[in-house]
Symmetry: C3
Subunit: 160 residues, 3 copies
Amino acid sequence: MRIEARLNELGLALPAEPEPPPGFQFAFEWARVLGNRVYLSGHAAQHADGTFAGPYGRVPSEVSIDDAIEAAHATALSMLGTLSRELGDLDRISAWLTVAGAVNADPGFPQTTVIVNGFSDVITQLFGPRVGGHARTALGYSALPMNNAVLISAEVEIDG
Amino acid sequence: MRIEARLNELGLALPAEPEPPPGFQFAFEWARVLGNRVYLSGHAAQHADGTFAGPYGRVPSEVSIDDAIEAAHATALSMLGTLSRELGDLDRISAWLTVAGAVNADPGFPQTTVIVNGFSDVITQLFGPRVGGHARTALGYSALPMNNAVLISAEVEIDG
Amino acid sequence: MRIEARLNELGLALPAEPEPPPGFQFAFEWARVLGNRVYLSGHAAQHADGTFAGPYGRVPSEVSIDDAIEAAHATALSMLGTLSRELGDLDRISAWLTVAGAVNADPGFPQTTVIVNGFSDVITQLFGPRVGGHARTALGYSALPMNNAVLISAEVEIDG
């Protein structure tokens, strides 16, 4: 429980299972575990009770760059919450492989990289560069689920 | 041929190989099979003869939500057509892993999730939750190939 | 060094390691190698010295289709540069698996396929269809890092 201990040290808590807003149905799984791979669905920032936290809208015209970076940071905790429920122990993660960061971006916004660093920095800080390092894309979309500002999916390796 | 039987029961037919429209060249493979993995290219709705069926345009200003859900449903059949041609028998699929749903969305459209459920529901209905369950993203794009309303790619596991 | 020889024959040189522009920090790895898989981050066209080459802007209103195809071609060389530094020898690549092409596209631009063919054609030409064939998506985004016109990520298989 090395990673859980580090989360505690940093004062970071993982939210409860994602709670769909009224009228939404999730016809997918938050994580799909097969062999030594975990495929993670698009996650967004959540409150402690599992409800979605936003912010909602486009970056930077409706949501500031700083708030979007913070959302990316919170999204890492959402994803770690899913992984913790699926795996029992986050120490079972042997390598982060690839991360896809989606930003609800104004046309031509050139700094999606900066936003998604808010996610990558948490992962690398918690797992260290050898386990936490990952390939990545950080792209701007015209529309995200529930109009979230940031949504992130990933693939990780676990010990068989 | 359990899955094929279920398709027949449900009255669902799989379209022929995708037929490129005039002036289009596909410099990729519809499915790439390696070891126990199949990587599936972005598929779209097709007519029985393999030609692309649309609808074309943005959701919801040019294509209604219901028509886009129907396109996602048809896209599942397009992808199953590819898998059937590649694998011979759809029962060789041991697990759906991850699905990436792309919607040609008006800026800020918050319901990409609802659209891509049209795909996920077919897969889960046909394969059951243990094999058919999958991680997923459902995102809104400014432009899709041929201006399709919906395009979906995926990764599945097969028996070695 | 069969692939390197073919690059030389074709007069194609691989650029140096990507050089972040002022104010940019890359909190990810350009390639993540694990077991027989390499996950490649979103790459863009580079100059020989590693600096990013553009073009920057939307296709086709700000960047022509021909220039975007050329950028996709150059992006293949950027990615091969990363693979060459990581693997030592490009002949270690046993199969291209899947490629995700992102185009900074005007809303409704229907030809993202044509743009990303500029990448796929180089890979298939160099590696041949058996190794170089790949599944693919080619999608239009509202925003790409640094406002690049084209950005491409991939997953490849290597000999254990």
